[in-house]
Each structure stands twice: as C-alpha cells, then as structure tokens.
Symmetry: D3
Subunit: 338 residues, 6 copies
C-alpha cells in the first residue's frame, strides 16, 4: 500500500557546464532543480508512493521554474510555501578521468528556504498528512531557524506516530572549522528522534566522537553501527562503502543493520555518468524496501541497485522505476531494448 512521504529540505538550482568544459571555457549552462528532499520525495513518488516536499520557494521566475520542475518530477507541492527572495544555486563543472568534478555554491544562506520565518510551516497539519518524513544533515547545517523548523517537524511527526528518517550527510564545508563540535548536539537530537538513519562508521567517529579499536572501515562499521543503534534506539541504520577507480567506474557496497543483524549487498562495480544524488537513490531504496515489506536482504540489494542506476542518468534526481531497478538486480548488462 502506497505511503504518504514528506521530505523537508531546500530546493537548489543546479547550473551545469555541458560536456567537460570549465566555466572559463564555455558560455552555456544546463539547469535543473534538486536537493536531498527533492531527490528522495521524487524517487518515492516514482515507486508509487505519495511524495511531498516541505520547503519554501521565492515568488520569482526562478521560484516558478523550480515549482514546475518539482511537479514534473511527480512531487506534491501542497506544502511548498512561496515567499522570500532568493533561490540557492550551485555550479557544476564535470570532471573527466584524473580531473575531479567541481561544485561552486552561491550564497544559499539568504535563500527563501533558509530565511523562512517562524510561522511558515504548520507542523501539526503537515504531520497529520504524512506517514513518514525525511530529513538530512545538509539542512541541519544551515542555521538555527532552519534547525528549529526541522526539529519541530520531526517531533510533530513522531507524536502523530509517523516514521522519522534522518540522513547524516555531514558536509565539512557547511559546518566550518570546529564543525564536528558544533554539529554534535544537533545530530544527537535528530538521532534521538529518528527511526531510520543513513550513516556509516565515519559519521560515528567524527560526528559522534566514538572510537574504534579497528583499523579497517569494514571492521569499524561492524563495531560502531550497533553501538549507535543501541544508544539512540534506532530501528534501521543503512549506508554504503564506495571506492572510486581511475577508469570512470566506482564500486559500491550497501549495508543495512536491523534487529541486531547486518545485511550487505554485493559489491557493484559500474561506469559513472553523474555521481550527484546517487546517495539519495540509495536512501530511497532503503525507505521503499522498509515501507513495502521487503526482507532486509531484498531491501539492501534494491537500494544498491537503485544507487547504481542513479549514477547512469543525468541530473541529481533518480529516474528509475521499481521495475527498472528489479531488472538491474537480476540481469547482466544488456543490448538495446527494442
């Protein structure tokens, strides 16, 4: 049975130099609109659920274009408030081989989302309309006012009996120096509220300040994730380990910890077209599996395949249907479908 899923987060405009040119070489940009909340609510809508975004957009041509783009992605905009003046945006220069991709942000702190005043969102009404709500660590890094909205919404959903998902998603550049110290209490507060959490052993070590006797990340994971789950009473913790190769391919292995057990996907190796947003595809796969009643084994394999496919499409937002993902889980690389 389809669920009603909300995601709280900023909508950003992505401005990408086409091909592999640098900003100083070209004169055209491709644009789209995304964000962790956009990606997750859109992917879940594509899986058959009702996906709604809780956000704020300006009353400008940019806001209009963003709203149209969200509708195109199948996202319900009932909780998208219009107001404020600016839209956050970032520029993307694609890398190639030995040259990494580069992201340059505009000043997102003045965006409509990040300047949403006290009364912007009606937490109770929103909470009553949702079965599940998704938050992420990027939003948590913005400012006190956004954090207040975030925690209030989480609490409201919790009180209505809904499920709270939290993706740790720590971005050092957003928290600045002394970032881990600054971030820790906020992360702990969110972990207390969360039922499903996306993280791995690095988050435990760097954000939560845990320490491990192990040297290998696989071992650290096995040691620390159960400790986190226990400490914060979290039902499901999931995440990935990624390796990046020189031939334009990545390897990815998903894990899922639930009921005191770990479940792992195969290590998938695949060619990468667009890496941004592939983590959100993994999250969406985990959430869909949990909401739909997949076994943990199925869920982690589904999420890993969803993430793999998200690397093969242009743009931040996953475009694969459930059928596409199920086929990718079972088949080998195929010929043209005609």
């Amino acid at each position: 049975m389809p669920k009603r899923i909300g995601a709280f987060g900023e909508v950003m405009m992505r401005l990408q130099v086409p091909g592999v040119q640098l900003l100083s070489q070209g004169n055209t940009l491709n644009y789209s609109f995304s964000g962790t909340g956009v990606n997750v609510s859109s992917a879940l809508a594509r899986f058959g659920h009702e996906g709604a975004l809780i956000s704020r957009l300006p009353n400008t041509s940019l806001g209009e274009a963003a709203a149209a783009y969200l509708r195109k992605l199948g996202i319900s905009s009932s909780f998208v408030i219009r107001g404020g003046e600016y839209l956050g945006l970032y520029f993307l220069e694609n890398g190639f081989g030995a040259r990494p991709s580069k992201v340059t942000y505009s000043n997102r702190l003045e965006s409509s989302f990040n300047t949403a005043p006290e009364e912007t969102y009606n937490y109770e009404v929103i909470a009553r309309s949702l079965d599940v709500i998704h938050f992420c660590g990027i939003t948590l890094a913005m400012n006190d006012s956004v954090r207040h909205h975030m925690k209030s919404l989480a609490r409201a959903v919790k009180q209505q009996g809904g499920t709270v998902i939290f993706d740790c998603n720590y971005r050092p550049s957003l928290w600045g120096t002394e970032g881990y110290t600054l971030a820790k209490p906020h992360y702990e507060e969110m972990l207390e509220l969360a039922d499903i959490v996306m993280m791995n052993e690095k988050d435990a070590i760097f954000i939560l300040g845990m320490s491990s006797v192990q040297a290998e990340r696989e071992e650290q994971l096995l040691e620390l994730i159960p400790a986190v789950a226990k400490q914060f009473d979290i039902s499901v913790i999931a995440g990935t380990h990624r390796s990046i190769h020189g031939d334009n391919s990545h390897s990815l292995r998903g894990f899922l910890y639930k009921n005191q057990s770990f479940f792992f996907s195969d290590t998938l190796r695949f060619l990468v077209y667009d890496r941004i947003g592939a983590g959100d595809a993994y999250t969406s796969g985990i959430v869909h599996g949990e909401l739909t009643g997949f076994t943990p084994e199925q869920t982690v394999r589904f999420a890993a395949a969803a993430s793999m496919l998200a690397h093969t499409v242009e743009g931040d937002t996953p475009m694969a249907s459930e059928a596409d993902i199920l086929r990718a889980m079972t088949l080998s690389v195929g010929d043209v479908e005609r």
Copy 2:
C-alpha cells in the same frame, strides 16, 4: 568492377534524445533516417558500387527530408516511389553502462512503405537494373502485402540471374506470440530464393525449428549452419557472435560458411558508441567481399572490421570507406591523424 545493388526495405526516422537523457528529461531530439535497406545500400555505395533503395516515401515534408537524407548517403532513389501518408519512426533513449538503451516505435504499419498498393513497384524493370538484391527479416514481419512485394521482387531478380541476399534478422516484438510458428513458412520461402544468407544458430533453432545436440553456441553453429545451407541450397551463410561487457565494450566474432567450410574472424573487442546498424555493416562487408572476389578469410575479417567501425560512429548507417576498414584490419589503435 562495381555492381548494381538494390535493397528493399522501409525508411524510418530515428529520433534520438541527445546525450544520455531520458525522453521525460529532455526537450530536443536529433533525427536521421535509416533502415536495414538504407544501411546496406549506402554502405555498398560507399564501397564503390551503385546502391539503390526500393521503397516508398510519403509526399510530405518528412518524405522530402528522408529523400534528401538518402541522397546524402549516396543512395540512388530511382526506385523510391512517392505516395501514401506516413513515415515510420522510432525514438531512441541512449543507455549508459548498466542502464540499457531503449527504443520506442510509432505505428509503422500505416507507413507509406507498409501500405504500398499492388502496382507500386515494377518488379521486372527493377530486376533488370540490378545484379544483387538485399532483403531482411524485419520487412518480412510487416504484412502480407509487403511480403508479396518482397517475394515477387526476389523471384524477379532470381529469374534475371541476379543474386538474392536475405538477412534473417528475426525481431520477436514484430511477430508477437506464436511468432516463430507464424514466421517459419515465410522464412523458408525466402531461404529457398536466397544465395547469401545472414543468420546464426539461434535462427536455425528458433525459426526453422532445428535442434542441436550441442550445448555451446559455437558447437551448435558448426552443426546447424551446414545443415541449413544444404537444405535450402545456399551458397554463403554468414553471421556473428556477440558478447556485451559492462565497461561499454562488446566482443564480436564473425563467421562465414562457404563451400562446406567455415571461416572466422578474430574476436574483436572494442568500445561501443552506437550499436544500432552495426549488423548491417557486417552484412555489407560480407556482400562487398563476395562481389569483389575477396577470399573467404579476407571477407569475414573485412566484415568484422566494418562492423566494429560501425559501432564507433553516430547513427544507424555505416560511414566507413573501404580504406578505413582495411586500415582498421591491419593497424592497432592510433593517434590523431594529422
């Protein structure tokens, strides 16, 4: 000495989403015109023969554009009749890595080609103007009227002493359920008329209903192809075995059966840019080798190299000259030519 070669087949418009976007992401398409007959007659014209298409195009802007495109490819349009209303077309969404390409067809059964009335083609006149004629299994799948044109033309060419080429090219989606049963008598009729046939062991098993005691496709090939050649009195049977790898490369090995002997190309492994039409390049290589008096060893190697190069150009239609192919047969991967 150049030969006069005709190919009977439909011209289709190919509408391709640029890059790797999906139809639901983009807003532009690249278009070209192709078809098995287009590809084969164009490739043979490029090798120095006279290549003519026998087909029917509508009297619309689309028909005009298609005719101009055929001329550009060097194809003689003396036997391209104008009439009817529609042009068949298909949409192509490029895959990437683990995500396969996807083809969506329009309703081609209403096309000018597939609704060509009784008197459209003057079989005798056409047959007298040609040394060789090419047909394929896609055309055979259309409808009774097209099949009538096809067989009448084949018979007329045969009576004039010309050579008949038939490419089995079975497409399950065109024949529907019970397709093999439906197709079998038509295929048998064409094989009776043909001198040169493109097929492999799968065609023998699935279309002709033969069975093999072997499990490996290489063994099945060695068992079944001679049987087919004998049963239908076919001079030359040729085809390929293809493997698809996860790193955007394919492997291809060509075979040629003639005078009770098999000849094989090396197994070529190469990066793939555009897979569609690469089979027609192989056919063209076989036909050119046979018409030009290559040894069977040369022919099969030439055809395999022609097919390999066809994977490296955009569009369905092979663009390599004889010189390009001969160089690809002898040289290793090269630096910029300047």
Copy 3:
C-alpha cells in the same frame, strides 16, 4: 472561488524544427506536448483553478514524458488513463515572412486516445468531480468511439449540473471531402449540450449551413451568432476575427455574445512568435472571465489580451498568469523589467 475544470482531448507530441529551417535542412527537433484540452486546462490552472485533463496515454517512454510534461504545466492527471500503444504527434516547420509555417501529422487515429475502448473513462465519477468541462471540434472529428466518449461525458456533466464548453474548431483536413455534411449532426448534438460555445460566423455558415444576406464578416457575425444562440439555447458565444499582415504581425478582435448583447475587445495588433494555441488562450480567457464573474466587457478584453500574449511565447500552451494579462490590458509596450 477556484473552479474544478476538466478538458477532454488528445495529447499530442509537437516536434518543431528549431529556427526557420526546413525538415530537409536540419537535424534537430524541439519537442513538447500539447492539445486543445492540454492548453485550456493548463491555462485555467495557471489562473488559479483546478485543471484536469481527461485523456489516455500509452505506457511507453513517450507516455511517461507526456505525463511529466502535463504535471509540469500544472494539470491534474487523476483522469489520465494509461493504455494503448501510440501517441499522436506532429512536425512543425516554422515559416518566416512570406513563407507560411507547415504542419505534418503522424497517424493519430492509432493513438491511445483515439483507440480508447468502451470502459476507459468512468463518466459519472468524472462528472461529479468537475464544475465545468471543455470539448473541441478536433476531438469530434476523430472517430465514432471518441465521439461516443465525448457526448457521454458531456451528458454526464450536464446531468450533474455542470457547465459544458464547446469550441467548434472545425479542421477541414480532418473531416475530408463532404466534411461539412458529415460533421453537421455531430456539431448540432454538441451545441445542444453546450452552455458556452467558441465559434464565429464561418462556422454557422459552413458547418450549420446557415446563410447570411450580408457580405462583410462583421455583419454576418451580428446576424448569425444570435440565431445560433437562440436555436441551441446557448448562454455565451465567443470568438475572434483575425487578420494576418506581411510584417510578422496579426490583428485580433474578440467578441462575446451574451444576454442578447455583443461585446467587443479593441482590435489588437501585435508581433507573432508562435501562433499555435493562441485560440485556446482566448477560450481560457473567456472561461476564466465567466467563472470568475468578470463583466462581459472585461471578459472579452481579458481573453483578447490572453490570446495576444500567447502569440509571444514558444509552444502551444499559454504561459501567462492573470497578472501578466491584466498588465498587458492596461500598459503600453514596456522596457525591461528589472
């Protein structure tokens, strides 16, 4: 108060050669999705109503892309049924000055919409969800089965007390020779059901077979429209007179007949970028004025300005907000807004 408005009609893919090239010159196309129902429901959604389309789309990549496009336009897809195989499409070559634009259609009779079987639409459920429903003469020209859906829906809405809008929109190429004779009974049936009708004196003369003693179209209009309104008991009849000038500009004058009186807009003269769909913008303006309680004078001026603006945007579908139109009604040509 916003109304719930449905429009019954086909979604077509528009494939436009960019700039002023011909299909035989270029190799790229821009695509979008439109149709009279799409244009009207989208425009009314933009004016603040709930706009829903009643239609049928195939389960293919094309259907997926069309559905995403409808969502982007703000159209509710609750009544968009998925099924069938094909999407109707047309090619547009832009004219320039003395050279007219040219439209080439694919075979739309095989489209999902035009092959929708008996049980496709639940007329009662749809009728209960709507205040108003819109139909047009293009749909009426398709086939008996589509006409059956159309009249059944009109009757169901009528029975629920809803308002029926009918845009005569006679396209000679769709009805063929003897078209007027063939069309007349169907048009009469729709006019009997309709409350608001889009037409002008030519429709009265050619479709309904009325005759006028007047020579000038302005006089014929004044004579015939009241007769039509009386005969079919229609509340509102509206339409336009258009003149086309050699300098890339058109002149347009809107009329509205209601309560035995005629109301006219000024004759607007304006530069034309994209003429297709501008009639639907006029319809949308009339409907919005009527539903919102504008005076007839306001309504006809609003509709004419809406139509004028629709000539200035790319694509078939009107993109102007109510505010844009109100400003265009009052202001002269302006400088950059910054």
Copy 4:
C-alpha cells in the same frame, strides 16, 4: 520537358555564427556548402530538371562533406572531379537592423576549383550531356586558368547547340583596383557567347563603360539594356532592382528584356531572413521560365517570387518548389498550414 542543366562554379563552405553573435563573441558555427553554380543547379533540380555541377573538390573530409551536401541538394555530381587540396570557405556574421552582415573569406585562390589543371574537365563530353550551361562573374574573377576552363566550356556548349547563361555578378573586392578595366574584355567575351544574361544598368555602365543621359536607375535601365542586347546579340537579359529598408525588409522588382520588350514584376516588399543566394534564386526562376515556356510576364513574376522566398530560408541555396513559388505569386500572407 525537363532539361539537362549544368552550372560551372566553385563550391564554398559557408561557416556562419549562429544567431546575431560576432565571431569574437561565440564559439560555434553552422556550416553548409554553396556557390552560385550550386544554388542554380540545385534550384533547377528542385523544379524538375536535371541539375549538374561542373566543379572540383579535394579528396579530404571537407571534400567528402561537400559532395554529400551536393547530393542532398539533388545535384548530379557526375562532373564533379576530385583532386587538389583545399576548399574555399567564408565566414558569415549575421547583421541585425542597423548593423550589416559581414563576410570574411579564406584564401580561395588555392582551392581545388581554382587550381584545376588543364585536363581536368572534358569539355566535349560535358557539352554533349547538357542542354543549358550557367556561368557567373564570380568565377570569371578567379584567374586565367579558371577563365580558360570557363570560356572553353561555353564555346563547347555553344557548338553543340546548347544555351549559355551568364550572370554578370561583378564583385569589386575580387577584381581589385582597376578592376573594371581588367574585367571588361573577359565580360565582353562571355557576353558574346551568352544567350541569357543576368545584369542591370550598373553593369552596363561600370563594366562595359557605357554611359547614360538619364539620372534615375529605372531610366538608365530602359536605355542601356536594349543597347547591350543588341551589341552582343543576347536573347534575354534579366535582373532586379533592390531597395533595403531599416525594418529588416527589402523591396525587389524584377525585369526581363526579350524580343525588344521589357517585362516587370510587381515591386515585392518582404521580411528578409537570409539574403545570400537570393539573386541565384532569381536567375533560376528566369531560366526555368524560359526553359518551360512561360510567357515573359509569367517568367519575371515567377523569378521575383522565387527570389522573395529565397530570402525566407536559411542558407544560400533556394529551397522552394515550383508549387511553393506559384502559391506565393497568388496568395497573400497565410496562416499555419495544417
């Protein structure tokens, strides 16, 4: 009855900055291939004749692309010789309103055409294959060797009883200072050989050194053209008067002098998209009218309408069919054709 028409002239690559950017602003170019001979032979092929180009192209990728482009235009390439090294090319920056378009040439004197050695063209064989041959003053400006080919071909066609067309087309930048003195004997030689000549009063005054007592160009035309016709025994002299307006429109009036009488088209005023090649469309119209047996009145109106339409398409080469032109002669500006 269709005629066999040849045109002798250089093929040049046209490299156009898209839109209205300057070369120093942009980074992309659109390319096509043209030339007076290309334009005339293509237009006449479009009117149903056999149009052949007599020219020379290099054996490079550029020559290959040019040859494919000629085929696309419907031009027979039987007399297109391959050899030499370079292709002439020019860059086009579009003007806008008060800013004129700008053309920058490459060094065309080293082109394959302009370095064609003595034995390149078999004058007798070519002359026997043609009913009509076309030359222009641009070719005459190249060098002695090209002039030798040109006059030899003209004489050969003349001896076979064919018709010789000569378009004066004097380009000051090609002849340099003292150009008129240098050009005069060559022009006189061509006029002696020609049956149909494209020129106006300015050519008579500046190239042939005639003088007129009149001040207005209309009067000068009436005085000088009959004198030229008489002196050189020319059957038909035709040309245009053009005025350029500030609003992106031109006015054009065609004239035709034949059997001691002048015939004029209306003065057509029209929006201009691409002015280059529109003179060749006029020539093609005159030639088609003469070859097809139009009355002189029809011919000059047909040619003027052909030229008008050639201003409305992209590229140098006329794209209108006979039907398109006949409609443009009779109809006013029209709505979308659908």
Copy 5:
C-alpha cells in the same frame, strides 16, 4: 592620444534563457559577465584607450571565468582584486513584442564586490594610474562600505587632476521605498565631485527634488539641466530620451549640454535585439568624444550611433569599433559586406 580610463563597479554574471523561452520552459542558459563599469571600460578599450576595471572577484571557478571574460573584452585587470566568496548574478528572460523582458537578481549584497573590506583598493595608486574614472548610480545604491570606496576613489582621482564621470542611473528597486530621500545626499556628493554627468530631467526632478514649470520632458530638460550644471559646477551633462514602439523598435535622441549650450543628435529609430547595456554605450561615446576632442555636435551624434549599434548585438557589452560607429553615422542601412 589614448587615455587611461578606469571604471569602478561590480561584475555580474548574466544568465540568459536562449530564444524567447521562460525559465519554467527551458533547460539551458547562456552566460556572460557584465556591469556598467565592465561595459564602459571595455567600450573605451575598443576605441583605443586603456580601459581598466576597479572591482573585486571571488577566488572560485566563477571568479576565474569572469576574469577570463574581462580579459577577452580587452579590459585591464591590474586593479581587479581577488577575494570574497560570491559573484552577483541575474537571470534574463527575453521578451517578445507585447511581452516585456524580465530580470531576476540573485542576492548581490553578499558578492565579493559588495563585501570588499576597508583596505581592498589602494586609492592613491589607482588614481595616479588613471586620467579618467567612471562611477554609476547602481554602485551608489549598494551599501555604505561600497559608497565609501566610491567617494574615496573619486576624491583621489580629483586630487590627482583626473576627470570624474558619474552616471546617475537611478534604479528604484535598489533603493526601496523612500529611496529618493535616501539617495539624494549621496547623489549630491557625487555630483559635486563629477566633471561629466549622465542624467536627464527625471533625475533632476526625482532625485534632486527640483521642480519644473514645464509639462513636456523636452522642455523640462532645457530648464533643469542648466540649473544642475550650474549648481554642481559640472562641465558636461549628457543623456537620452527614449521611446519604445510596439514593432520591436525604439527611438532614441541624445543630448549634450556644455558651455551653456545644448547639442542634440537626430532622433534615431531602429530595431532592438538586446537593450541591456545600450545606455553604457551612449556614455562611452560621450566620454570618447570628450577625450578625443570631437566637437559637441560630433560627440552627441557619435554617442547616439554607438548606443543604436549596442542594441543590435547580443550581450550587455558594446562591441562596435570607432569605425563601425562612424559608418553607422553616415550610411543608410546596408547590404551584406563581402
């Protein structure tokens, strides 16, 4: 003799939807970099002077691209300081006919330029390197810190004996409500320092609070400009009157007040391609005329022609050379230059 000219102002990124699409329709943008200071210093460099920009750019890919763009325009970047984090940017949706263009700004107050700290610019060093410096009212509207830089630079140049140019350029949206009151003292301070001022009667009335007994703007101009020149001891005041027509053309008349006399250009009417930056072209023409020793009549005609040409190129920045402008002053609309 070429002069050394500096311009103090912000560099902004211009992000333009191609063609006439809206941001909510398209998915690509063209980008360039501009600003009043950029436009003026580039235009004067194109006229043969040394043009330098005094500004601040971030150390990001955007700053890198902006710096490369300035170099391309021929602007010296000796005084372009690198620091801060953001670049101001704006989105441009082109209008068409009755639909105006629309500009949407990002939050420019956080830009590198607008957050330049106290010690950023070495006023004395800059002043010693320049003969002339240019400021504009847009910069004056930013914040106190920018105003401090602006006035300090103006004073330093004044003390070195240089010429100060001030373009009033009042933008209501930047000053907010009560803007005129807020702006007045700052404008007065700049006018006290300025030698050459760009303004018209509206600036005198609205910013300086002057009143006129006249009703027509032409009369108000004649009354108020001399008063301003006298009050603030300004050598040269210049500006334009513009009318906007419905057919995509504007009319422009330039004036120059100097030595108690008015000088006017003809009223030029011309088609408009890109209106943004055309005022800066006028300023550049006035400055060039003054620095080069043109008569006032020549200067005002040169400036008006420069502005007219700036409407015919893409982008904010004038691209015409002195020769281009001189020709536009003397010639009528021309044919292709080849």
Copy 6:
C-alpha cells in the same frame, strides 16, 4: 619570481565537429584558437609568469576573434602584429575507440603569420623584453621567410642572455618527401641556439641521422639523448614516451636529461578526452620547473602530471593551474569537490 616568456608561432583556428560525428554527418562546429606558441605561453601565464606571443594576425573578424581568445587565455599581445589577410585553420573530427581522430588543414602557407614581411618583428625590442623564448619544429617547417624570423629572434634573445627553448616536434606531412634531408640543417641550427630542447630518440635517429645499436626505444633514448646534448651543448633535453590503449586510455612516461643524468616520471595511465596540445602541456611543465627551481625529479613529475591533465580538458590549450597539477601528482582519483 615570475619570468617573462615569449613564444614565437602561428595562431590557428580549430574547427571541431562536436561529439563524434564526421564532417559529412553534422552541420555545426565548435571553434577555438591555438598553436604550440599559444599553448605554451598560455600555460606559463597560468603558472604565474608573463606569457607573450610573437605572431601575426589578419585585420579581419577572424583576427579579431583570435586576438580576443588569446587575451582570454591570459596571453600578452604586445608582440602580436596585425596584418596580412588569412588565418590558418584546421578541422578536427573526433575519433572514438578503434576509429582515429582526423585533422584536415586549410592552406596555412598564405596565412598572416607565414607571409609576414621582413620588417614585421623588431627582434631587438622583443629580445630585451623577454627572459625566455620558445620555438617549435612546426614553425620551422613553414618557409624560408618564417625560418629567417625564427632564427633571428633566437639569436637576438641569445645575445641578450635569454634562454632559448626548442621543441623538435617534427611533422612529416609538413616537410614532404625527402623531408628529413631538408629539415636536418635547420634543426641543427636551432639546436645550436637552444638551451632547453624537447625531443626523443626518434628525432635523433630520423632528423639528425644518428644511429643506435639498441632495439628498444628506452635503450635508444639512453644512448642518443646524451650524445645530442653533448654535440649541441644543450643544458636540458626532455620528452615523453607514449603508449595508446584500446580502451580510450594512454600511458605516458616523461624523461628529463640534465647534468649528464636522466630523470623519469612514473608511467601514468589515464583516460583521454582531447589529446591535442598535451605535448605542449608537458613542455610548459618542464619550462616552469626549470624557471622556478624545481629539482629535476620534481620537474619531470610535474610536467607529466601537467600533460596528463591536459588530456582531460577540451581544446588544445592546457587549463590546469599549478595547484591543480600539484594535487594531481599526490592524490588518487577523487570524488566530486563540493
């Protein structure tokens, strides 16, 4: 401390078919401007030196565009003379996998650079303004007049105590048959003048006519390079060995011979996007290392990494900063930088 570096060489326009199409398939080109001197002076300017080009450009739109492009690259144009008529240009068709890239040149011998008359360059003034000057073997192949400029400049710089760099860069197609015999004395003259030379063992064997007892190129290198250094008294000789793989990757190993010792980089294997100009990046790295006082080990590793990165950007000209290269030397392949 930054150095003043000049490079003497031709600027060519690069016209590239986008994607992997052939010239006969496409209709658009991307253009940029490059040349060995352009690449080297730009790369060194990017590393913080003053990079100047000594060259000659025509006074046309092409020359204007080239000059703007050089400025954008950060190259000083103080020694770029304007005159002559043409700009050399070349067309690039990208290869893919087994299909090599193809370059087609225009007639560069008529270019402004190659027709520069005697007095074009003031050798003494230029020499006094430079610390270092760079020449290459492509320029040496042009004609006697260019060679005269080249050697005169080299001698002038030498006399001023500057450093002379010479890149052997032998292109067989430019020297023709008997090329090595023709080239040898000119190469020897340049090697006599040079302090830093780019070459490898093949140049020693084929141009200088040396012979080696070794069969492997690595052994030949070790034998011949010291001999060359000794014979011509060269301080530094550097170059690369390259292998090309079938999977779109190359391997590169740099060497540096100095003070009787060889220094080698690791063999780097990397994906290749645009191979043209990557040799110039290597040269720039060697020169930068030498001028900046890197150890030879650092220099050769820096140059190899610079060359590797140059394969990953579009266009001939290296775009990497010193920081980019230093990071590429130390880090493994990375994730998105954000």
